[in-house]
């Protein structure tokens, strides 16, 4: 069990059969996605049943979550960005919940698989392109042509803008994936040191105190990272959506 990669292994729980050449399997990843969905529903719906004018503490948590995402959108994409509120809210809570669930003992981190983060990043990327052209038509191309640039260097600038636009889904997805993957590997490696050192007798047990302290500190850091990466994913989504809403720089 000392293998730091083993925690990312998908486990077949049951199979749903095939779609074309692909076997559709319910795995531990699918299970944790469902738990994240149920946890979000439980957090947001159960405390708000009474719709109390004076909220209970747990209702305040639901309201603060709502306000937090709403303020993030309003501050980066403006009032018009609020039509993407359900999308940003779903992205934020999905990533947040699966990140936190991955930190529980025996948990599985859904976002440590790049296909998941790429899929979410592509959803945002395609939403930006589709909505950008739907709302602005061909003026959406202004996104690549900043105003007030001398004509001499304009081709270079446009090239850079196009390149940065198309590299967005890559950075958007890899940032989340790499953070979760690296954090969990680091935790597992240092936890492995504790096991290895403590097997060496009394000196090893004393020596294992340092990695133990590191694991405790890293766990706290990973909770911060889990929240922060969800927030970064959501705020980048808002910034990209802002480009679709207001393409002129």
């Amino acid at each position: 069990m000392g293998d730091p990669i083993h925690q990312f292994q998908l486990k077949h729980l049951f199979s749903l059969g095939h779609i074309g050449p692909y076997e559709i399997v319910f795995t531990n990843s699918s299970l944790f996605m469902l738990i994240a969905l149920l946890a979000t529903a439980a957090l947001m719906l159960i405390p708000t049943r009474s719709r109390a004018m004076i909220p209970s503490r747990i209702q305040s948590v639901a309201e603060i979550s709502y306000e937090f995402v709403a303020n993030t959108i309003r501050s980066t994409a403006g009032k018009e960005g609020m039509k993407f509120f359900p999308l940003v809210f779903s992205l934020f809570f999905f990533v947040l919940m699966v990140n936190f669930l991955g930190l529980l003992p025996y948990g599985f981190t859904v976002t440590s698989h790049i296909i998941v983060t790429v899929a979410l990043a592509m959803l945002v990327f395609l939403t930006v392109i589709v909505y950008g052209f739907y709302k602005n038509g061909l003026k959406f191309f202004k996104l690549f042509v900043p105003s007030g640039i001398p004509i001499i260097i304009l081709p270079l600038i446009v090239f850079i803008e196009v390149l940065s636009f198309f590299s967005r889904p890559i950075s958007h997805s890899v940032r989340l994936f790499a953070n979760m993957l690296a954090g969990h590997i680091t935790l597992k490696v240092f936890a492995g040191f504790i096991v290895m050192l403590s097997a060496l007798g009394i000196g090893g047990i004393i020596g294992a105190i340092l990695p133990l302290a590191l694991v405790v500190a890293l766990t706290a850091l990973e909770f911060l990272v889990a929240f922060l990466q969800a927030y970064v994913f959501a705020i980048l989504t808002c910034i990209y959506l802002n480009d679709a809403i207001h393409p002129g720089h």
Binding site: G2, D3, P4, I5, H6, F8, Q9, L10, I19, Y22, E23, I24, V25, F26, T27, S29, S30, M33, L34, A36, L37, T40, A41, M44, L45, T48, R51, A52, M53, P55, Q59, A62, E63, Y66, E67, F85, P86, L87, F89, S90, F93, F94, S112, H113, I114, I115, V116, A119, L120, L123, F177, L181
Partner: protein
Amino acid sequence: MATNAHTEAAGGHKAPFPPFQADTFASQLFWLVIVFAALYLLASRLVLPRVGGIIDARANKIEGDLSEAQRFKTEAEAANAAYEKALADARSRAEALAATTRDKQAADSDAKRKTLEQQLDVKLGEAEKTIAATKATAMGNVRSIATDAAAAIVKRLTGMEPSADAVSNAVGDALKR
């Protein structure tokens, strides 16, 4: 590496790095689409309208309460102003009433005093007349007494009866001095 050997031993088959195992992608995408679509529907249909509704209702309630409080405050201020105006009116009315009462009483007492003075003047005049009459009567009596006394004195001294006219003239001369 030792870890790789361990992975192969544990997994039982030649496994690449799990996040890059392409044969799992279809399953992961399938469940991701289902779960994320469900989450999106849940958020857009149920969660956000409900929580947003709660927050809006609270904001409206607070706004309504504040405007109602403002209304009550304005009403209270108006009532206070009306009360003070009524108070000032009552005070000025009371002052006017007091002033007229005072004036009327002063006029009444003046009039009474005047009639009293007139009555006293009349009585005084009558008393003076009585005194003058009495005095005149008394003076008349003095003459006759003096005349009688003078005639009697002269008769005793001389032994002869004086004439009445001479005595009367002599008394008149003496009274004139």
